[in-house]
């Protein structure tokens, strides 16, 4: 299976050089090809599973447990102003 490596890179916001694209394209195609062997398995009558672990959903009660930790949480942000995160303009 052929992979449009440029498109995948764009969707993932990963910058690739031409050399990297040339190298990674076939590698990704190989991985997909490997996994695709699974589609050869006959799954007639097998119930699809929603999750590999058959565990119960942990249930959270609707009560506030977190307090304001803005200063600590924003310490790793590149830039903030009046409590807001500042990012490059995202609308044209």
């Amino acid at each position: 299976m052929d992979i449009d490596v440029r498109k995948v890179a764009m969707l993932s916001r990963i910058r690739l050089t031409d050399d990297e694209a040339a190298e990674l394209g076939p590698q990704l195609s190989n991985i997909i090809g490997y996994v695709e062997q699974l589609s050869a398995v006959n799954t007639d009558g097998v119930e699809p599973i929603a999750h590999p672990h058959d565990i119960a959903m942990p249930q959270r009660v609707d009560a506030v447990t977190n307090s304001n930790r803005r200063d600590a949480l924003q310490a790793s942000a590149p830039k903030t102003e009046s409590g807001l995160y500042v990012v490059p303009k995202v609308i044209e």
Binding site: K7, A50, H51, N66, R69, L84, V87, P88, K89
Partner: protein, 476 residues
Amino acid sequence: MSWEVVIGLEVHVQVNTKTKQFCGCSTQFGAEPNTQTCPVCLGMPGQLPVLNMEAARKTVLTGLAINADINLVSKFDRKNYFYPDLPKGYQITQFPLPIVEHGYLDIPVKDGEKRIGITRIHMEEDAGKSMHEGLDGVSHIDLNRSGVPLMEIVSEPDMADADEAIAYLKQLHQLVCFLDVSGANMEKGQFRCDANVSVRRPGEPLGTRAELKNLNSFRFIKQAIEYEVNRQIELIEDGGEVVQETRLFDSAKGESRSMRGKEEAHDYRYFPEPDLPPLRFTQAEVDAIRAGMPELPGQLRKRFETEYGLSPYDADVLTQTRDLAAWYEALVAAHPADPKRCANWMANELLGRLKESGTDIAESPVSPQRLAGLLERIADNTISGKAAKDVLDAMMTSEDDADAIIDARGLKQVSDSGAIDAIIEEVMAANPAQVEGYRGGKEKLLGFFVGQVMKASRGKANPGMVNQRLKALLKG
């Protein structure tokens, strides 16, 4: 040749839980920016979501109220895209196996009712808020809303014009309010609508649709749909073709513009959310949720008509919200003698005054008991209806009850026939020409006499009695 319009709606409803969908942060609206966040809703590495079961139950309740199937097993998926108000880089949502499917709402249309199919309701989480205005080269991000529980309610393409779309939205809005599953305040973004609109010639397959975003009031939704329908018809009649695209409605200009530039990036690469196991409900749990279902607007409307003898119009006005209906029933409990009088005074007088001051019924300065006290005085003829309106005006700004205001202002109606006769005789003596006219057949003059007598009594004479006594005395 005519055109058929096909509209489907996607409504995002914020679920009114105390905490977010997957973490214990508060959802309180209007807090200082970024003060209601934690490592989970900020998408920090290694954090795990834990589902808010109250949000799940409220979504099930909504599903039951639209007559839908509840999937006892549903699952969560990741929808991947990059935007700074989505810190994880994906939204947790439900894709192939949502919690609710196959429901419907019956909406009022010109000639009766129309059934609008609801394809599904799925649970997901809201994104943060981006601000761009007045900023130079940057955007500001507030993540307090990041992770707030949402239900996305997806309709079938069953609506044929903007009016049907609005009727559906209003019905849905009223429903989520009654169920108390959402604040549903559109200005606060708690009830948001995207519209898929296409046109076709009758009998032909569906046309290409455009998706309208950013519709945050009923008025704008109607405008945006009508604009889009005209745009598509003109385009096709001029030999053009509709392209599938997202369009952003600009309410200030009353037109929409294409966001086509972004379409290319809309490849969400859904995959199962590995951090959450399937969500399971037992039938007994679903039944328990159903047992807690409040009376719905349609049922309430019919009950108000049969139990209290209200007109369909009054029943509709008084069942617009749960608060209104509860207030009305409290009023009837305090003044059981005349439910219709209760409806008239609440719908016409009290709600009119509240509307003027922009006050919600829940914050009404007059309680049902105080209004009932006033209605008692109308019922026992202590005051006239006209004087009662003045008393209600006074009640809006004071805490006194009706009797205190009536006493203080001397509004007690004169119903003593001797006293009324005395006034009538004075008026007749002062207007001999009119008396003669009346006796000569000009019966319209009765109105003149009523006015004069009321004036002479400074509005306190019982109008019914004045009428009756005037007729008797004028006969001569």
